[in-house]
Structure formats: C-alpha cells, structure tokens
Symmetry: C2
Subunit: 321 residues, 2 copies
C-alpha cells in the first residue's frame, strides 16, 4: 500500500511543487484513490504509472482552490479515457456544486456516472480493496482527513495444522484459504481456524489543512502512516498569524510523537521553503519533536507501508521518461 | 511583438503538450496578454519570463474546458502575486459565471479588481500597447478570434528635413518626436510632417476553435501572423466527422494561402499527432496548400513579428532552468 505525492505546495504552484494531490494505490491491484485534486493534478498523474481509467474515487479535503481546482479538467479527461464505470467523488457540497457548474458550462457528455457525496456521509465506506472513513479537522473552512484501512488481504493456509489433523489436500484447501468454511468428512472446518491473513491491514491517514492535530484523536489508533500539512515552521506560523488555520512542523511532530505514530509524512509547504537544502530547517524542527520515521514530501515521492507495517520511501520524486 | 505557445494540445493534456494558452508580449514592455487559459496555464507561465503581476488582460475564445479551466487557479495566484491593479477578463458570459462560482466557493479576497466583459463587446479596445478586437468564429459553441493591433510605436525625427528647413534643434525636437505639434519662430510645425513611426504596426490574430476560416474575412487584411487550430489532417477530420466543429490542416492552410497571409502558426493538435516526427504529415499537408511562412506549434515556442513585419521562430520550446 503506497501513497504518491502529486503536489506538496500550499496555496500556489511553484517550479518544483504542484498544489495538493495524493494517490493511494497498491502495486498488485488496479483501482486507486486520489485525495485532493489541485489544478494540474491530471498533469502530475501523466508522470506516474496510474491511469484515470482505474481511478475509483476522489476524496477532497476542503473547498480551497489549491485542493480542488483540478477536478473539472481531471473528470473531463477521465471521460476521454474510455471509462464507462462510475467514478465516486467525495467532497464538500460547494465543491460538488463547482463540478456541476463546470459540467454545465462546457456541456459535458460524460460516458460514465459521477457518484457524488459529502465527507460528512463517509463512515467507513468500502471500496475495492480499502475502507475509507472521514474525520473532521479544524481549518478556516470545513476540512477533513481520510483514513484508509486495507480490507483486501490474501489469506494463507495453516498447512501444518491441517496435516497435523490429517485433513488431506483437495478443493477444500482452496476454499479454506479464500476464507470459506467447509465440510470435510462430515466435519465442519471453520476457515478462521485453518487460514489466516497473509499480513495485517495497513492503515494510512491523509489530512486536509488542519490547525488542531488532536482532531485526529478519534481515528488515530493503529495508524501506520500519517500524511499531514506542516505549512510553516513554528516561528514563521507565529509571525504569519494563527488566522491561517494551519499547523506548523513542531505542532504536528509533537502530536505524532505523543500518539506514537510510527511514520509521518509532512507536506503542503509554504513556497518560502525551497525543496532540497531549504528543507533542512523543517527536518531539524521535526526531528527535535518526533523520533520515529519521518518523510518530507517532494512531488513524485512514493512512501510505501510494507507488509511488515513499516513505512519506507521507495521513490524520491518523479522519474523523468 | 511575440506570441509564446503555452499549450498546443486539443481536449486533454499530453506529456508533451498542455491545453490551450497563448501569451502575447513585447520584449521591451511589461504588460502582456493571455489568450485562453486551459488548466495548468499558470504552471506553463512559471516556465517563461512572464509574471502574473504584469498580465493586463485575459481573453478566452470559448467555454470548452481545455480553453478556460485554468482561470480560477491563475486568478487566485495573481492575487498572491501582490498585484493591486485591475485585471481584465474577456470571456463568454458562462465562463465569467464559472469564475464567479469558483471565487464564491473558495471565499477569495482578491487584492485587485476583476474587470469582466464579453467578447461580443470587444470592439477595438485599447490596452497599454495594443488594440484588441474580437471576431466571431464558427464552432459547436460560440467561439472567437482576437486581433492584436500594435498601437504603442516610438517615432523618429526626420532630421534631414528639419535641417533642410533650417529648424534648429531644441526642446521642440523632442516634442515633435513624441508626436506633438509645436510653434517654432511663429510658425506651426505639424508632428506628422517632421516625425514618423519607427516601424509599422504589427498585427496578429489568435483564434479559438473554428471550422470556417472565412469567418476571419472581416479582420484578416493586413494580418502578419495568424494563429489557428488545425486539430486534424483533412482525411482524419473526415473520418472523425464534421460535428466536432474543427478545422483541418488543409482547410486553414488553403485559406491562409488564398488570403496571402504571410505567416501561419498551426496549433491545437489532436493527441494522435505526436510532437517531433509525428508532425511531418501535418507539415506535408500544410506546405502542399500554403507556400509562405509556416510554424507548427510546440509548447514553449515563441514566434516573433519583427519590425520588418516578418515572422520568425525565436525559440522552439521551453528552456529548462
């Protein structure tokens, strides 16, 4: 289970960073999910292996333009990708209105259905391989985080136990492995006793703008990777003013440490912090307060939660073709 | 006077081409103009020397998304550029509504005024250094071309004539050069008799989607460079069907030849024609019907109309920084 950063800039694009967008996918499965869709997110997707044809759902964190202005173009291009299966969009009601306004203006004839709903209604909705849940955050406008809880996990047979109990191999082995209970020689065998998950569910949370990390308290237990904005250094946020409704590096790092979150991906940086060496001060402030696995987002970066539930960076930026 | 192609793809962006956008500028003056603003036009502008601070007007050709979905993000970013002077947007009424909807959704507080008007109302409007006029075209939806007629041209003194008439030098020389009539030794000297334009006004037309080149008849005389879509080769357009409302390479090339337009920049190519070698068939079809100066658009390409009124390509693509 991976997240690929499509945009890590706050407010406005820079030469090195686009505005917000995060792709959640698994290497072995085609459906994928998009959190936020700032302008030119579809352009960033062209630099990945992902296709609009297999995009299953878009989840928008809040209505600010740097998180949603890419929706009309991306949806229109999905219409040109040949897809006919529905596309789910979860977004605040005003963002859904914005999509409808764009569609009406340009007289779209989408060859697929748009399934529109709001984050408030997203309570552990099951998608192809993941259950997604929303969590309200604190910002100048209603903002949400999305929790991805992996549900599609292959099972392994407990061969030793089966052999020990002299249960011979046969088609019932496959059924037990798929999680089905079977009858063998007149005896009922429960799948849960003879097979087990090949790995534990991986859990990731991707947040919109949020000045109050503790908003995440209700959903944070068991999370393996938290993706959260750190728009400013603490001192800079103090100068800019708390009216912005943003977090700073210290605040979110301290929260992640307190909650023992094993991995933290900071993102949504103010344009004042240049990629590369400009990140050092952010790293310093973060590591002062957070002692576990830390990543600072760059566009194209992929962070994977392994089946051992450890997060690692598997790609630092887009690979030029 | 130059045009820089910011996007040359029709419908959807590709890895090599963005959707429509054209910057019109002069090297010696700061104000510039943008025709069309497909998604990620502001990202393309980051690859040029142009700044949103000095953008004087945006002119949208029609309401299809690939020509206008970049407006909300670009205008929002202009708000972050520190500008306080007004920005003119000329666009079909529904596009102006789309901008208003985006502004209302994201709760913008723009630090400058947006001056919104429609193309129908644009009859030789004077901007800083150019007069712009709209021309209705023929497409599936109302579409327009924009004619740029240079008005800010320095004047030269006819020194020989002044000397021949024994008019001594003095402050009246400067005034005559600026185009002011003066009184010298009790005699009125008309500026038009003693100074002249340093070069003739340069004229460029940039068009939206258009299936009927002759729509340009009312404004085409004297044009030095025509920028026009050539979405398909003639045979391909025949296969795709005329319902698309587009021109093909043959149609627009033959029109430009008939009207003796000295330079033609073809653009807005279907994604089926790859940049580079994929362009050869388009070049072949164009040169079969048009024998003058031909350019095929690439993103980042700059075409300049020199003061001798001849067009030349001064840059083939974006220069990587």
């Amino acid at each position: 289970m991976q997240v690929q950063v499509l945009g890590s800039s706050s407010g406005t694009p820079t030469k090195q960073r686009n505005v917000s967008g995060y792709a959640v996918f698994r290497e072995d499965l085609k459906p994928w999910y998009l959190v936020d869709c700032g302008e030119a997110t579809q352009h960033q997707i062209l630099k990945t292996r992902l296709s609009l044809f297999h995009l299953e759902a878009i989840l928008i964190t809040h209505k600010h333009g740097d998180h949603c202005y890419g929706l009309p173009g991306l949806i229109a291009s999905a219409g040109l990708s040949g897809r006919t299966h529905p596309l789910t969009v979860v977004a605040p009601a005003e963002v859904l209105e914005f999509i409808r306004a764009a569609m009406a203006m340009s007289e779209w004839n989408l060859p697929f259905q748009l399934q529109l709903s709001t984050p408030e209604a997203l309570c552990e909705h099951s998608f192809s391989w993941v259950a997604i849940q929303s969590c309200p955050l604190q910002h100048r406008v209603p903002s949400f985080g999305y929790k991805f809880n992996e549900t599609h996990i292959s099972r392994k047979l407990d061969i030793e136990k089966l052999k020990a109990q002299q249960i011979a191999s046969g088609p019932h082995y496959n059924r037990l492995q798929r999680g089905e209970d079977v009858v063998y020689n007149g005896q009922q065998l429960l799948a849960k006793n003879y097979s087990y998950l090949a790995w534990q569910p991986r859990i990731m949370v991707i947040c919109g703008d949020n000045e109050t990390p503790s908003c995440l308290d209700p959903i944070i237990d068991g999370v393996h990777l938290l993706v959260h904005e750190a728009t400013f250094l603490a001192d800079d946020l103090h100068k800019v003013g708390s009216h912005t409704g943003h977090s700073d590096v210290r605040r979110i790092s301290a929260y992640a440490q307190k909650k023992a979150i094993p991995a933290l991906l900071l993102t949504h940086f103010s344009a004042r912090y240049a990629p590369g060496e400009g990140m050092q001060r952010l790293i310093d402030e973060a590591t002062e307060h957070y002692a576990r696995r830390l990543f600072l987002a760059a566009d194209g970066m992929r962070v994977k939660i392994n089946k051992t539930l450890e997060a690692e960076c598997v790609q630092r930026g887009f690979i030029s073709s």
